[in-house]
């Protein structure tokens, strides 16, 4: 059982990925069904396809925060500067006070690319380069500290790291901070950037497709790895009146649910028992029946096992009634950032009344029994569920509704 919750509001939000920076570019790519995946060409790794964010290599952090410079913190800084989200957070800070705004970020590998480069540059005596700053780059907390420092916030701060469920779970932990009275608002988000560790690690597990990933396709054969960052400002419903032009997207967070598979480190439970529990708990917490959900944004990674498990789990709860799709054909699997990136996609679906059908699917797996969309559908969308499942058997489902 998850305690029923009062809705929290996303009063500003954005995301950046291979399909673009922010709401307008993301919406256009989804509507045009234009993928951001390209042949991988990163740090000498050329296997499969990857989704990289344009401009990250040349983006510079503010000079005062130069110690934090790494690909992951550049991504989150780019997100902060997209759609006016940092300005919207500044306005909340002026209202609540810096000490009442927390920061909860999700990431799986933080700035590990900086360590990879440092290990490659190790000298003959085994010394890492003097300029390599572990604390402000690879360390998990560097992402949350960066956001805190860039926005001059003083509330509690944490990085959630539970593989691909990281930034979905960050919404829950932010909600706890607000509902326990510790914060009036929380900056929630996540970033995961391309690095050798994930590209070669997933390749070692033989989970990377040689083609752009095709979630739910009968011949799907693995993931494409992407990078992304997303930021939202989560506030109490009775927090403050928000005026002015929207900063990115708005939405209501109506419910959340988490569970563990308790089954295997890297293989999902075959019947999706943990996934069913996470979705059930999210519905309970939102006090919504299954037929209130109009669209499900699947975790939908494109591996044989994960998609089959999710189809079973969604089918168990929703039957064949609810349209569902994965958007990873556009962005690639952005790992710890996928929850917050897909939260933006869910909000766009609600605001603009459309559902993005899976990209690149020739034939939906005939064994699937859910209503998998393969083309975009225009229709009013009120309530959306977003799923994320990570290594270690960590599952998290979020339910979004219309912005208040």
């Amino acid at each position: 059982m998850t305690a029923a919750m009062t809705a929290l509001h996303v009063t500003a939000g954005t995301g950046i990925s291979a399909i673009g920076l922010g709401v307008a570019q993301t919406l256009a790519a989804l509507r045009d069904r234009r993928t951001g995946l390209e042949r991988c060409d990163f740090a000498g790794i050329t296997h499969g396809y990857a989704g990289s964010v344009a401009g990250v290599q040349t983006h510079a952090l503010p000079p005062a925060l130069a110690a934090y410079d790494c690909r992951n913190n550049r991504l989150i800084d780019m997100a902060l500067r997209t759609d006016g989200v940092a300005d919207a957070i500044m306005s909340a800070r002026a209202h609540y006070g810096a000490g009442r705004i927390g920061v909860v970020m999700g990431t799986s590998t933080s700035g590990v690319l900086a360590s990879e480069d440092a290990f490659c540059a190790m000298d003959a005596q085994g010394r890492l380069p003097a300029h390599f700053d572990y604390e402000h780059t690879q360390d998990l907390f560097s992402l949350a500290r960066y956001v805190r420092a860039a926005l001059d916030l003083g509330g509690p701060a944490l990085c959630v790291s539970m593989a691909c469920a990281s930034s979905s779970r960050a919404f829950m932990d932010a909600a706890y901070l607000i509902r326990a009275g510790l914060c009036d608002a929380v900056v929630v988000g996540g970033a995961d950037s391309l690095c050798r560790m994930t590209l070669r690690g997933f390749a070692a597990l033989e989970l990377v497709s040689a083609q752009p990933c095709r979630p739910c396709d009968a011949s799907r054969d693995g993931i494409s790895i992407g990078e992304a960052a997303g930021i939202v400002l989560l506030e109490r419903a009775d927090g403050r009146a928000v005026s002015g032009p929207p900063a990115g997207f708005r939405a209501a967070v109506l419910g959340y649910g988490a569970s563990s598979d308790g089954h295997h480190m890297s293989t999902p439970h075959p019947h999706g028992a943990g996934a069913v529990l996470a979705m059930q708990r999210a519905l309970q917490s939102a006090r919504l029946p299954v037929d209130a959900i109009d669209y499900i944004n699947l975790h939908g990674t494109g591996t044989r096992a994960n998609d089959a498990m999710e189809d079973k789990a969604v089918g168990t709860l929703f039957g064949a009634q609810v349209p569902c799709s994965s958007t990873k054909g556009w962005t690639g699997h952005t790992l710890g950032a996928c929850g917050v990136l897909e939260a933006m996609i869910c909000a766009l679906a609600i605001e603009h009344g459309f559902m993005p059908g899976c990209l690149g699917v020739d034939e939906v797996d005939p064994a699937f029994r859910t209503d998998v969309l393969t083309g975009n559908v225009t229709r009013p969308v009120h309530h959306v569920m977003s799923n994320a499942f990570g290594f270690g058997g960590a599952n998290c489902s979020l339910i979004f509704g219309k912005a208040a």
Binding site: Y134, M172, S260, H264, L277
Partner: protein
Amino acid sequence: MRVWISGLAVLADGMAGWEPARAILRGEAAWQPTPCALPPPATLAPNERRRTSPIVRLAMTVAGEACAAAGCDPAKVHNVFGSSNGDGMVVNTILQALADPTAGVSPTQFHNSVHNAAAGYWTIGSQSHQPVACFGGYDWSWGFSLLQAAAEAVVEEKTVLLCVYDMTMPQPLAQKRPTQGTFGVGLVLSPHPVPHAPAVLDMEYGPEGAADTALTLPDAQTTAALRALCHDNPAARCLPLLAAIAQGGMHEIRVAGDVGHVAIKVTPC
């Protein structure tokens, strides 16, 4: 926020459980940093057990002992795990492999490198379907994980197992992130009064910077040695709170949290 401690466990160099730790923290025994044994987790099947690294064994041992001390079913509690460095050994090994064009990345090492690996094995071993959160907070992992675990307990009205752990970082990563010793702590937190709870904690977050409350024990030498451990291992920063519980009486403790702090009032039950 108010939470009752219903179970406590410690596994650290020279502290092979809460009872020996309690004696040291009360000044009844001396502390010797004898390396602690990290037992293979009996709850896992042999093939899974073989894959567990020392830090997974550390986390699983304190998690299991804390639940046993609280008399609660490990499959029923919510779980919050906190660690600064996660499995530094596995990450270090993968980084070495990635820098070597001739070496491959081991699939098992890769899936063990995720920060939630210990929590994953814990839920597999306890066949738990309950929620897990896994945090990293650099030197402040203990204080922030405790705050978050208490918030989850109070908001969800659920018993929450908090497990915080860190271990010696290997070379060469240790050049940049020195971490010494083995330290794991487990607390079972209840949002409601429980029989036999040693203490109740009232917790608040303060946005002002503050230093950790310094550990002070009856013996000056032990105090100095354990203060060094608090400095060298982020999980050991729980020691001032554990000492307050061990010594009894009311205490007010501050745990530093980067720019802010966590304030804890400890009241014996």
